[in-house]
């Protein structure tokens, strides 16, 4: 009892959380189609914008969305960042590119990984396409797409990004 001990001011107490994720109608529908390798969004009946992933409503118009629209796995880069920061336990090796991507036929971006690219030349308007995991690994998750890689296609001009469907420029 006589030995001097350093005062303990804190101890490590790990906590683990496991969620049962209730997706709701729109997200459940989306995830079941992602499991089939398809990206299916929903169109707003009021502003005609296509949401991917769909949320069952258009937050801009405040109306429910039900009409399903399959969109391409080709996208346009809206913006991006190159992540250099190391995060403990992160399976992705920095530096890596995270891009806000607008799929052909949709009007809102989602975030995904960009790979097989030169990080220094990634740019707004760049055309990219999904690289899917092997079909036997598909699950109810956007991680079915491993990453996106650049396409050898002309850039979409800034003012058209998210406003025209692109693929083949048939507008």
């Amino acid at each position: 009892m006589s030995e001097e001990r350093e005062m303990i001011t804190g101890i490590e107490v790990p906590i683990y959380l496991k969620y049962h994720f209730t997706a709701g109608e729109a997200t459940a529908r989306f995830l079941s189609q992602v499991r089939q390798g398809k990206l299916v969004g929903q169109r707003c009946p009021s502003c005609n914008n296509v949401y991917l992933p769909p949320r069952g409503s258009c937050a801009a118009c405040g109306v429910a969305t039900t009409e399903e629209v399959e969109v391409a796995d080709k996208c346009t880069v809206e913006s991006f960042t190159i992540v250099y920061i190391p995060i403990p336990g992160n399976p992705i090796q920095p530096p890596y590119v995270i891009a806000n991507l607008i799929p052909d036929g949709a009007n809102i971006s989602f975030i995904h990984l960009l790979s097989e690219c030169d990080n220094d030349t990634v740019h707004r308007g760049q055309r990219v396409q999904a690289v899917w995991k092997p079909q036997e690994e598909w699950d109810y998750a956007m991680d079915n797409i491993r990453y996106f890689k650049p396409l050898d296609e002309p850039d979409v001009p800034s003012e058209s990004i998210g406003k025209v469907p692109v693929t083949g420029w048939e507008v």
Binding site: T9, I87, P88, L113, M142, G162
Partner: protein
């Protein structure tokens, strides 16, 4: 018509990487006791306690409020917790103010905190969702592409963020409570610091801090019972918008513009750059200074960066509208408290009690906070004048 209320006491802890000497309750009590001392009051003079913090995962302590009642002298009194992500410090102050302005209570103690050292906020902000790939990018990964879009649209030179990062740390070096004390910082040092989320460098990002901030807000009839000058609350506003919708303006969110218009109208502000003597604005990443200069109407769209580069927002360059004289979020970031620190520092300025970072003769100031995917906004206007 709301009753007139004022800030009569302010208490802050020293912000630092880790406060291993106190529990969460001890940290909050420290700020609360300082605020009460500043107000010349005791816990018995308080009618209700309003607290706020960011998500529970930031400490891994779920519902910390359930063990904070006694530490904050709230036994037998109403206690309420507020949460609006990063803006929570601001919205907590506004909820506290509204309880006085409505006449519900005469004196309210409000306290916000974060003890970031207890967990990992980056991890807490990168939880996996099936509808989105798990990219582990944290807040910087979310805001960097939006900053990049601001740079593209405005054509601002690459070093505007570097200038903000330098300026706010020089401000912070005047404030003994600021976490980062970098009196020798230069733009070259910021530029040489590692890139974290291109275009955001290490020194262009806020630190992770432990700390708490508290205020006592009193009805006008009780203001004279506190010894120091009050900061009259002349306008209060909050706005929210969804994180994601087609065509959303992410660089200059509508909710921010609407919130500013509302709070300015209440306080009779018609030209923010002229009518305010200073502002404490939530800038967690350097580029958010020029972006919010525009969103809040201090500059025209696309021109905010010019104010920054001209030194208009710098105390050291005798700018006409100093922003974040306390050092801002870039110098101290106990997330849940960061918004309230803005509100409290605006109040310190108009009370003439800001020490070495005082703007001489400041009479009217803006306190601002934002949070979530830049979707929650909270603002107040405080003044030495009753109006």
């Amino acid at each position: 018509m709301a009753n007139l209320a004022a800030v009569v006491g302010i208490g802050q802890t020293k912000y630092q990487t880790r406060r291993g000497d106190v529990s969460i309750a001890g940290l909050l009590r420290e700020a609360a006791v300082k605020a009460l001392e500043d107000a010349g009051l005791g816990f018995d003079d308080i009618d209700a306690v309003i607290i706020g913090k960011a998500p529970d995962m930031f400490e891994g302590v779920v519902m910390p409020e359930i063990y904070l009642t006694d530490a904050l002298g709230a036994n037998g009194k109403p206690m309420l917790r507020v949460h609006t992500a990063g803006s929570v410090g601001g919205s907590t102050a506004l909820v506290a103010a509204s309880h006085v302005q409505s006449g519900t209570f005469k004196r309210v103690l409000t306290v916000t905190f974060e003890k970031q050292s207890e967990s990992n906020a980056m991890w807490a902000l990168s939880s996996p969702h099936p509808f989105s790939p798990h990219l582990n990018a944290g807040a910087g990964g979310y805001f960097a592409p939006i900053i990049r879009e601001y740079m593209r649209r405005s054509g601002a030179p690459y070093d505007v963020g570097i200038k903000v990062a330098t300026k706010d740390r020089l401000h912070g070096a005047r404030n003994p409570l600021a976490h980062l004390q970098l009196p020798d910082i230069t733009m070259a040092k910021v530029e040489e610091s590692p890139m974290l989320w291109d275009p955001i460098r290490f020194l262009e990002s806020c630190p992770s801090s432990d700390g708490a901030c508290a205020m006592v807000i009193a009805d006008a009839s009780l203001v004279s019972e506190s010894p120091k000058p009050p900061a009259w609350i002349r306008g209060v506003a909050m706005r929210s918008e969804p994180t994601m919708y087609a065509g959303r303006e992410e660089v200059s969110p509508q909710a921010g513009r609407d919130c500013a218009a509302d709070v300015y109208a209440q306080a009779g502000i018609t030209n923010p750059r002229k009518d305010f003597d200073c502002a404490e604005v939530y800038v967690p990443f350097s580029w958010y200074e020029p972006m919010w200069l525009e969103n809040l109407g201090f500059a025209e769209e696309g021109k905010g960066w010019k104010l920054t580069m001209e030194g208009a927002t710098s105390l050291d360059e005798n700018g006409d509208i100093p922003w974040n004289c306390s050092g801002g979020v870039l110098s101290s970031n106990p997330i849940g408290a960061s918004g309230m620190i803005r509100f409290a520092e605006a109040a310190r300025q108009v009370r003439g009690d800001a020490g070495a970072h005082q703007v001489e003769g400041a009479r009217t100031a803006l306190g601002h906070a934002y949070g979530g995917g830049a979707q929650f906004f909270a603002m107040w206007v405080v003044s030495a004048d009753k109006g």
